[in-house]
Symmetry: C2
Subunit: 212 residues, 2 copies
């Protein structure tokens, strides 16, 4: 049986609606706010992991939003913050995702930085059929710490790392999984250059239609 | 004897000349290139540390530059890359640094992500008088991994972490040092909000004139 592991945000789920909501709340500032928010969100996951100060992704995401609002001089009213956080619970899947996953043979799981309080409602809302939703919260560390990718190995109970295919749209996540030893497909939706961290994905695709 | 530990890039040394050189090489693109370069440089230090794939800062810095050039569609001619890398060896200190350090009592060291091949020529060129130049290269991990701040404790041979004052302009570095337990002064040159990583610097100053 093939084993497929998918990153969630940006890979299966499109965060564009968050950008749109930012723009609706603060016209003219949506793009810069959502860009700052996303960078800070990732930055905080890496920094907390390195500091040994794990906090759940829901907290990290809220902290990153509040920092980004402050850095842009936008008053961070509570209701707007809660509005945006709620947006994460009902992200849409990219258009090709449902069909692409449906036509793949084998077992399928999500492996995400998201904490269960964010991931579980999201997956339920989208109705995607998966064998498991694995959260880094189980190991209190963030990607690309190898203990995270080890979660997938344990879940699938596989002997060989390269028998598990990991699919992510995040270049650095693809490198982390490759460094750990999984088979890796990088979904390069944005047409970005390959990250220079010493590894190469096994395959690069533009979207999930090319997976099968 | 007081023990003072300083971050190098952005704290003692002004990287603005690198921005200027980027602009001279690719007019109109200097700001976006140097911004992408700096973010990617930090990102690669965090990712490599988490992946357990340390590479020296000189390599990380060159890799980040080449990724950033590619992402902006700028052909990365070898001579331009070497020009920019060389710029890092002759950065100027911020205007107040020499006098501020001269008037401080106690022992003083640099603790930097920089590898010795970058730091040693830089410090020699600037003529700053310090007791030690400590590089993360000794522990093959990057800030804010606690093993890095431990380097300062070992060098000064201090019993109490809070007897060592760490000075950094990087908000996340200040948080990392605080999480480790040092006394921390954040040099908030850019007027940024405090990072939301669970800690607060002991003091926030605008530049090093306020240290004494």
């Amino acid at each position: 049986m093939d084993a497929w592991v998918f990153d969630a945000y940006g890979t299966l789920y499109d965060v564009h609606s968050v950008v749109r909501r930012c723009e609706a709340l603060w016209p003219g500032k949506g793009a810069s706010l959502s860009q700052a928010w996303r960078s800070k969100q990732l930055e905080y996951t890496w920094l907390r992991s390195l500091m040994g100060r794990y906090a759940p992704f829901s907290q990290v995401t809220r902290d990153a939003l509040q920092w980004s609002l402050a850095s842009l001089g936008i008053p961070g009213e509570g209701h707007a913050v809660e509005d945006l956080m709620a947006e994460y619970l009902r992200l849409e899947t990219f258009p090709e995702v449902r069909q692409a996953l449906g036509s793949l043979q084998g077992r399928k799981a999500i492996l995400s930085n998201g904490s269960p309080d964010m991931l579980d409602p999201l997956v339920a809302h989208s109705g995607l059929k998966l064998d498991a939703v694995l959260s880094v919260d189980a190991v209190k560390a963030y990607k690309p710490d190898p203990v995270v990718y080890e979660l997938a190995m344990k879940y699938f109970d596989m002997k060989s790392k390269s028998a598990v295919t990991f699919v992510s749209s995040n270049g650095w996540d693809a490198q982390g999984a490759k460094s750990f030893g999984l088979r890796v497909i990088w979904v390069n939706r944005a047409g970005a250059p390959v990250d220079r961290l010493g590894f190469a994905p096994d395959r690069i695709v533009r979207d999930l239609r090319e997976l099968g």
